[in-house]
Structures are given as structure tokens and as C-alpha cells.
Amino acid sequence: MPPFLDVLLALTVVALAALALVDRQLVRACSWFVAFALGVALTWLSQGFLWLALLEVVFGAALTGSFLFYSLGVRPGAVEPRGRLSRWRDPLPLTWRRGVLRLLPAVAVVIMLVMALADFGQVPGPQRLGGLGLIFLGLWAFALHRHLLRRLLAFNVIGTGIFLILMALVRDTTPAAGHGLVITGLVVALLGTALGSLLIRRLNGLDASRGSSVTLAEQGSG
């Protein structure tokens, strides 16, 4: 029986991720994401990975969070988002067929992952199940959400799920290699989010100066 606190922590993390991915208001979704990152840091701390907890707070919560808010145009003084972010969506509209086509690989990945994890034989702990839950949530959101910022959030959530599974698998055997992979992954996630946020901001600026998102959508799909 895993300790009660670990289960509670894993559930909290998954719940926070779900909130970040489904909240319709983007500023609130990003706030949920920061809370989620702090929850992940707590998880690392509870497992004794002090360095990962520290890096998660700095990279995952503080820096990623500030880039997300930057892309929304939120600054410490003014909370109201500026620009017309809500208009910038994936240039291709999401139809039922496209949605199913995108969900299929996601479902396939989850099934394969469950099979592989079941093959490991040990009793899965809360971290592994929590990680699986995060990957599932993230893949679902990545496949179906059209807004770029939400997809960035989904990407971060999937990444965190993979880190949790990875560290749960290698905790007793090769934690050093696991650390190396997770730290690289954290840096990559931060850089990817930063690039994405700068892009969203830039696209918004161009969109606003053109005054029409229709031309944008046409060019994007052309």
C-alpha cells in the first residue's frame, strides 16, 4: 500500500493539470499550470530528488510561467490581457474527421505505454500512474485543442508525465542517467515554450497590425 501522502500528491498534480488544460480562460489556465508545476516540484521533493525539485521550481514554474504570461500580454501591473489572442488559432479548422485522426495516434501511444509498463512486473506506484494520467490528459489536449498556447501547455504536461514515469522506473537502478535525461528534457521544454510564446506574441502583433486573421489562416494552410 503506497503512502497516503504520495497518492494525494499524485492526485493533486493530475487534477491541477486537468484544470490547466480545460479552463476556458487562458490567464487562469496559465495560473493553474504554475500551480501544477509547483505540485510536481513537491512530488520530486517527496521522493528525495532535491535538484529536480529546485529546477522544476525555477524552470517549470517561474520561467515557463513568465513566458506563458508574456505570450498573453499579462504584466505585473496590468492583469487584463491585451491583443486579440483569442483569434489566433490553428490555421486548419478542427473537424470530426481530423479530430479522430489526431486522437488515434494518441490512443495508440497510451495503449502501447500501458502494455509496456504492465510488462515491467512491479506493482505500479502513484508516481507511475500519475505520470500515465498526465500523458493521457496531455495527449488528449494536444490532439483536440486548437489554440497554440493550450497546445504548449499540453506539451509541458506530457513532458512532466514522462519525467515522472522515468524517475519512478530508474529510482533504484540508475538515478544519475535519469537525472541527466530529465534535466535535458526540462531545459528543452523551457526553450520550446519560450520559442512558442515569443511566436504567439509575434503572430498576435502581426495579426493586429493586419487587422484580419482570415488572410493569416489562408497563408498558414497554403
Binding site: L113, D119, V170, A177, T184, L206, G220
Partner: protein, 496 residues
């Protein structure tokens, strides 16, 4: 197969050996940062300074060839990284250096005349340096952590380079490319995590020994391949390639098509050879994807309206030839693998040089006519014989006409398919050759239209003409001296 990849070379204990490798990895990065401080206005300083990394490569080649391959262990605390170099590594490193040297030397004139002062010019140099360093790391790496780092740095640098034009279409295409690259890297990381969790090691040579067939191995290889083939624009996952190339700067497109997609392909093939060397059916499926890519890419290149799209779709088609290598190298008899091994790497080198040359020549044509459509080339033959000549020479290698390296590679592929009894592949090769002939001659047909209205042509700076021609010529000449790269590829003992 694993000994041909150089993974079984014992690591040398002398710490001084690392100097050449580290300088090879650091030189492009340092030069890129320096070049962003003093932005080069002419091609010759770039060409001169690019000799520096080539010199470090020569130093490394001297060491490696003397010892018939070399391996290094890098201890970082409790972590151990495995790097190695053999003939294949040297060939890939040289290819990387040559293509990026030509593209960097092409860039100053292109930026000065075509781009002007807008766009993120300053970022071109450090990003290109980072791309070169990360590619070198990918060729050298012998463990999954180094490969992961190299793959990620390469992907992010490539996305950054694609975004540089700063126009809406470039940003929209770059955003999709970023999302795809991130998804690909997540799949890769998940695969690596499963491998590490199951066998508690990351070095490829060790994994080759301990990995046992089972669900975990299959799932992780499937995840790794899905991520890598997505990044390599392999057939069903190729849709992002054409829009991304259409909006990027010409030297960046050349670098991307010639090297970045090859980096992912190389990792994928290496992992298959190490982890699932007997998976004949799965490899046959990848080969079938490749055969479809050859035909489908050729068809779409033939139908494309824009010049750059023709070249981009031809990349999809040529990557298909490389994918055929999977099926010929994995689970086949030794005589087939011996031929297919040479064919695959020669095709990679030939395509890199020819495609980079073709992109640069295409850039010149677009620059000069101001037209991005194939039809806009009408009458170009009278004004731009040199650009068209470069385009044509690169095309000889892409189509696979003798005496180019592309011909030798396809001949070897045909030979291997015949010996393995894969008749379908021979059909795909024949169709691919016909289709590539068709899309190349479509471009020429328009450019030789004589009664076209005269457009206002711009004179192309000499350095842009020169480096396009040099790259195209090198893909042709590689065919004449093909024995030299092939001798580098042969296993120890047969080396020069």
C-alpha cells in the same frame, strides 16, 4: 552491423585525446557567436574562417584513421557519455562541414541583396553554429543521452533558423514545425525512458547486448522510430516539410534539407541496427513506406506550382530511397547488407550535396527573376545560364544519371534489392527515376520557353552563383571518386 557503426571500438584511456573532438564541437559554436558580433558582409572571410573547423576535423581524422577508429568515455560525475568515431563518422562530419561551409559562404551576399536589414539576421550565425555542433554530436554519440541532447539542440536550432524571415507565413509554418519537433522529441524521450527503465543503461553497445525482444523493446523502438521519422519527414509524416521550406531563407532551406532530416534518419537507422537487428518484417514495412515515399514525393514534385515546393517534395522522395535501406540492412543476408550499407550512406551523401546545391541554385533563380513559380522561369535560359547549369548538375545526381554519386548509390540499391529478392523496390526505384526526370525537365521546359515576355532580371552576386555551382559539382564529382568514401565505410582492415 554494430561493429560497422563503430560502437565496439574500445575506449582509449588517454585524456588528451578529447581535445580534437571537443574543439570540433566547440569551433562552430564559438565562430557563430563571434560572427553575430561582427556580421560578415562578404563571402571570403566566412570561407576563410570556415577552414578552422575543417582543420579540427582533419586533426581528428588523422587520429582516428591512424588507430582505425577511436572511442571516448566522458565522465560527468556518476554519468558516463560514450562517443566514438570511425570512417562513417568522419564521412558524415566532412559532409556536414562542406554543406554548412557552402551555405554560410552563400549567406552574406544573399542577406545583403535579398533580405536587406529586416528579419533576424543577427541570429543566423549563432543558430547555424549550434546546428553544426549538434549535428557533429549526433554523428559522434554512442549513447542515448548524448543523442537526445544532440537531437534536441538540432531541432531547436532548426526551428529558430526557420523563423528568421519573420513574415507571417514563416512564423505560421515555424510554429507547426516547432510543435511537430516537440512531439517528436517527447516520443523519443518516452522510448529512451522505457529502455533505461528496463535495462538500466544508455550506451548503445551495452544495450545491444542486454536488450531482449519483448513488449518493452518493441514499444520503445516504436516510440523512438515514430519520433525520429516524424522529424526526418519520412513518408506518412512528411506533410510539414514543403510549407516550412517554402517560407525559409534559401541557405537555411539548403542546410535543413541536406543535413537536419539526415540527422534524425541516422539516429533511427542506428537504433534499429543496435536494438532490433533481426526485425525483418518491421524493416520491410519501413522499406514499403520508403518505396511509397519515392513515388508519392516524385508525383507531388511534378505537380507543384512553386519552384521551392518542387525541391522540397523531391526531398520527400529522396528520403524514401534512404528508408529502403532499412529493409535491406535489417534481417537480410550478409552479401545484401554489404552492398546496402554502402548504398545507403552514399545516397545520403549524394543527396545532401545535390539537394543543397539545388536549393542554392533555386534561390538564385528566384532571386534573379523575382518569381517563385515554375512558370515564372519562362525565358530564364537566356539570362541565367550559370544558375540553370548548377540546377542541372545537381539534378543529374538527384535523378541518378551516371557519372554522379546519385547514380552509383541507386545502382547499389538496385543491386541489393535484386539480391534480396525485393522486386517491388526495383519498381519503386525505376518509377522514382522516371518521376524525378519528369519534374526536373518540367522546370527546364519552362526555362527554355523562347517567346516569353522579357522580365526584369536582377544580376546574381558571383558568390551566390559560385557556391551553388561548387556544391552541385561536388555531388557529381563524388560519383567519379566514389571509391574513396566507400573505402572509408568498409570495416576495419580495408580502410585506407
Amino acid at each position: 552491423m554494430i561493429e560497422r557503426l563503430g560502437l565496439l571500438i574500445p575506449a582509449s584511456s588517454e585524456s588528451g585525446d578529447l581535445g580534437a573532438v571537443l574543439s570540433l564541437l566547440a569551433a562552430p559554436l564559438v565562430m557563430g557567436v563571434l560572427a553575430s558580433l561582427w556580421r560578415p558582409q562578404h563571402s571570403w572571410p566566412v570561407a576563410l574562417l570556415s577552414l578552422l573547423p575543417i582543420a579540427t576535423l582533419a586533426l581528428l581524422a588523422h587520429q582516428v584513421l591512424a588507430a582505425d577508429g577511436q572511442a571516448w568515455l566522458i565522465e560527468l560525475g556518476a554519468l558516463t557519455l560514450h562517443w566514438r568515431a570511425n570512417g562513417l563518422t568522419l564521412l558524415l562530419l566532412l559532409l556536414t562541414q562542406v554543406v554548412s561551409l557552402a551555405s554560410a559562404a552563400y549567406a552574406p551576399a544573399y542577406l545583403r541583396t535579398e533580405i536587406g536589414s529586416h528579419g533576424g539576421q543577427v541570429w543566423l550565425w549563432p543558430l547555424q553554429g549550434l546546428l553544426l555542433s549538434s549535428l557533429s554530436l549526433i554523428w559522434l554519440a554512442g549513447d542515448l543521452l548524448s543523442l537526445y541532447v544532440g537531437l534536441e539542440l538540432m531541432g531547436l536550432a532548426a526551428v529558430g533558423l526557420m523563423l528568421l524571415p519573420g513574415r507571417v507565413d514563416a512564423l505560421a509554418a515555424g510554429m507547426r514545425y516547432l510543435l511537430l519537433a516537440l512531439v517528436g522529441s517527447l516520443a523519443f524521450l518516452l522510448g529512451v525512458s522505457l529502455l533505461l527503465g528496463a535495462w538500466a543503461r544508455l550506451d548503445l553497445a551495452g544495450l545491444a547486448q542486454v536488450a531482449e525482444p519483448g513488449i518493452v523493446l518493441w514499444v520503445s523502438v516504436a516510440l523512438l522510430s515514430a519520433g525520429l521519422l516524424l522529424k526526418a519527414a519520412a513518408f506518412p509524416l512528411h506533410a510539414w516539410l514543403a510549407p516550412v521550406h517554402g517560407s525559409a531563407w534559401t541557405p537555411v532551406s539548403a542546410l535543413h534539407a541536406a543535413l537536419v532530416v539526415k540527422g534524425s534518419f541516422f539516429i533511427a537507422l542506428q537504433l534499429w541496427l543496435v536494438l532490433v537487428p533481426d526485425a525483418q518484417v518491421a524493416a520491410w514495412l519501413v522499406g514499403a513506406m520508403g518505396g511509397t515515399a519515392v513515388v508519392w514525393g516524385g508525383l507531388l514534385a511534378w505537380r507543384s506550382a512553386k519552384l521551392k515546393e518542387v525541391v522540397a517534395w523531391s526531398t520527400v522522395s529522396q528520403i524514401g530511397y534512404l528508408l529502403l535501406g532499412f529493409s535491406l540492412l535489417i534481417g537480410t543476408s550478409p552479401s545484401v547488407t554489404a552492398v546496402a550499407w554502402e548504398a545507403t550512406w552514399l545516397q545520403l551523401a549524394a543527396h545532401s550535396l545535390a539537394k543543397a546545391g539545388m536549393f542554392l541554385a533555386t534561390g538564385n533563380l528566384i532571386f534573379s527573376t523575382g518569381e517563385s513559380h515554375v512558370k515564372g522561369l519562362a525565358g530564364a535560359s537566356r539570362r541565367m545560364p550559370l544558375s540553370l547549369l548548377s540546377f542541372g548538375i545537381a539534378a543529374i545526381s538527384l535523378i541518378g544519371l551516371p557519372p554522379s554519386a546519385g547514380f552509383t548509390a541507386k545502382w547499389l540499391l538496385l543491386h541489393a534489392s535484386l539480391e534480396a529478392g525485393y522486386w517491388l523496390w526495383m519498381v519503386a526505384l525505376a518509377l522514382g527515376t522516371l518521376l524525378s526526370g519528369a519534374y526536373i525537365f518540367r522546370v527546364f521546359r519552362y526555362s527554355f520557353v523562347e517567346d516569353a515576355e522579357p522580365l526584369d532580371y536582377r544580376r546574381v552576386p558571383w558568390s551566390m552563383e559560385l557556391f551553388a555551382l561548387l556544391l552541385a559539382l561536388s555531388s557529381l564529382l563524388l560519383g567519379l571518386v566514389a571509391e574513396w568514401p566507400l573505402s572509408l565505410l568498409r570495416p576495419a582492415g580495408g580502410g585506407p
